[in-house]
């Protein structure tokens, strides 16, 4: 079984601070990592490989430095990595690059993606790639069962659980709840350095790279809260004080 996992290098959003004057998010110096839900996708891929056999390839489209972040995915159990080097962050461009990379790999039965990346959370990548390849998509999957000839998946739409079945190839996007991504051992981390990450240029895959979305401005959302913290030695005293204040300030009562 040939399994392809699409993963994205993202900024660790919990480390983003807002500039007090410009109100813009400060992005320089923010650590980078593989988007959390993409690791769930990889975990699922490894499970399928362990059950049925096959090969797991991870693809990332991003800046050259992403090769470093990708090593974690190889340590987790991906067999091979492909980095498509691009500066673009546009969904239309990235999805086409990933699609072209998948076509170049040639053999694919299952393509796995996270439901969305934690930085942009647009949820576009999986369905876009499926649309471009014109293959079935099953999104927001919480449970997946793979057999030799078909896949059965439960997708969660919020108010319904839809059980779907598909032959191969198929694209699946998973949610965080589907599994608990493994932590690679030291041995696996060391062994990962022997696995290869192939780097492909965007121009090898696409003749024209043209963004379709323009971002005019990004403004940080600062919360202007009172931040009154009640931490008395005696908890009951804290509670009395806070309840006094809540009534005094007309919030309760």
């Amino acid at each position: 079984m040939d399994i392809i996992v699409c993963a994205k290098q993202v900024l660790d959003v919990t480390e983003i601070r807002i500039h007090p004057e410009t109100k813009e998010p400060i992005l320089s110096g923010v650590p980078k990592k593989i988007s959390d839900i993409d690791k769930n996708a990889l975990e699922e891929a490894i499970k399928i490989k362990n059950k049925i056999g096959g090969k797991v390839t991870v693809i990332t489209a991003g800046v050259p430095e992403a090769a470093e972040t990708m090593k974690e995915l190889l340590a987790m159990g991906a067999d091979e990595g492909i980095l498509v080097k691009t500066q673009s962050q546009d969904y239309a461009v990235i999805s086409k690059l990933l699609m072209k990379a998948i076509e170049k790999i040639g053999a694919y039965d299952i393509i796995l993606c996270g439901e969305a990346s934690i930085d942009q959370f647009s949820g576009q990548m999986g369905p876009r790639i499926a649309g471009l390849l014109n293959i079935p998509q099953i999104t927001y999957v919480k449970k997946l069962e793979v057999e030799k000839e078909k896949i059965t998946a439960n997708r969660d739409t919020g108010d319904t659980i839809v059980t779907m079945e598909s032959s191969f190839p198929v694209l699946i996007t998973v949610t965080k709840e589907i599994n608990e991504p493994r932590l690679p051992s030291l041995m696996q981390i060391l062994a990962a350095s022997k696995k290869s990450i192939h780097e492909w240029g965007e121009n090898e895959l696409l003749t024209k790279v043209e963004d379709k979305t323009v971002t005019h401005k990004v403004t940080g959302m600062t919360s202007e809260r009172k931040n009154k913290i009640y931490q008395e030695e005696n908890l009951e005293d804290s509670i009395k004080k806070v309840v006094d204040d809540l009534f005094k300030e007309g919030i309760l009562g």
């Binding site: 647009s122 649309g131 919020g158 965080k176 963004d211 931040n227 931490q231």
Partner: protein
């Protein structure tokens, strides 16, 4: 012929909101607003789309029993091409998002999902706002290619009042999508308690600090005391543990709430949860970890174990109310 704006949602309430937004944009640009109805067709419902702002209603894919991305994206793509539509606005439900992105992929155009604002600027160009960086920032974006595809969040705008004097045509289109390699084998309704947390005035919410499901009764007790209509929760309580149905889930992928008072109990304050509760007027938090991120996003923070703090808190409020 005037260019068209097409709106579609699988959520009936959101569909009416999309019509209101579509009407506003259509009037601003002098375009025709088309409401799309896919699946089972009912004359009353289609007439209703006209009464709520559509100039035209297109019915397609009547044989489709359930939403499915492959078939729906073929139907929508074919309608966009045929009309032709310049602007497509889809309801930002899970089905809507996967539909919009698949169509955008097929047509190789831009798409902005989860718009929390979608307005014409002075130059009469559509400009969208969406939440990025896990709720830390708002991005202002626009699309360059045509058709432009957006998905709009619920409650960005109110539905227009029903106007039974409005006239419009209803057109049926026969579009037979190709048979895809996937199929639906079962659809199960999740147990929902019919609570609309997004409209609640007072919300008491619980998180991973709760040790067991039964302890939610403590949260309910406080909620009752404060006359809260519903209780909320963070992702793990709903999505992982299933202690509460997902209509209680407050967060970026759950519900975004705007109550007068939000009480967060045993919630550490993951960034996605903070994004969901940000619209609250006043936030009170109880957490045993003084370093928990929730305290940075709180008006009144109590550091203490919830199992000790809640009974005191309930008692102190009762005394005040007497």
């Amino acid at each position: 012929m005037r260019a068209m704006i097409v709106v579609y949602s699988d959520d009936k309430k959101l569909m009416l909101e999309l019509l209101a937004k579509g009407r506003e944009i259509a009037d601003g640009l002098n375009k025709t607003l088309v409401g799309l109805s896919v699946g089972e067709s009912t004359p009353n419902r289609e007439q209703d789309l006209i009464y709520h702002g559509a100039d035209q209603v297109v019915i397609a894919g009547e044989g489709q029993e359930h939403f499915k991305a492959e078939e729906y994206s073929e139907i929508l793509t074919s309608i966009i091409n045929e009309l032709p539509a310049e602007i497509v606005i889809i309801g930002n439900t899970k089905n809507g998002k996967e539909l919009a992105a698949r169509v955008a992929g097929k047509m190789d155009v831009g798409c902005i999902t989860g718009c929390t604002k979608l307005d014409l600027n002075e130059g009469k160009e559509l400009v969208a706002e969406r939440i990025v960086y896990g709720g830390n920032a708002l991005a202002v974006q626009s699309l360059t290619a045509s058709p432009q595809i957006y998905t709009m969040a619920p409650r960005v705008t109110d539905a227009l009042p029903k106007d039974e004097t409005r006239k419009g045509e209803i057109i049926k289109k026969e579009i037979a999508p190709s048979v895809p390699a996937s199929k639906i084998i079962n659809v199960r309704e999740k147990k929902v308690e019919g609570v609309n947390i997004e409209d609640a005035e007072i919300i008491v919410s619980c998180g991973r600090g709760m040790k067991k499901k039964e302890d939610i009764s403590l949260i309910k007790e406080l909620a009752n005391l404060l006359h809260g209509e519903t209780i909320g929760c963070s992702r793990p309580i709903s999505a992982d543990l299933n202690w509460l149905s997902e209509d209680h889930w407050v967060g970026l992928s759950g519900h975004k709430v705007k109550p007068r008072i939000y009480v967060a109990v045993g919630i550490s304050g993951q960034i996605q949860h903070l994004a969901g509760m940000r619209g609250s007027d006043v936030i009170v938090a109880i957490n045993k970890d003084p370093e928990a991120p929730i305290f940075k996003a709180t008006d009144y923070g109590i550091v203490g174990d919830l199992y000790q703090a809640l009974p005191f808190f309930i008692q102190a409020i009762k005394q005040k109310l007497e």
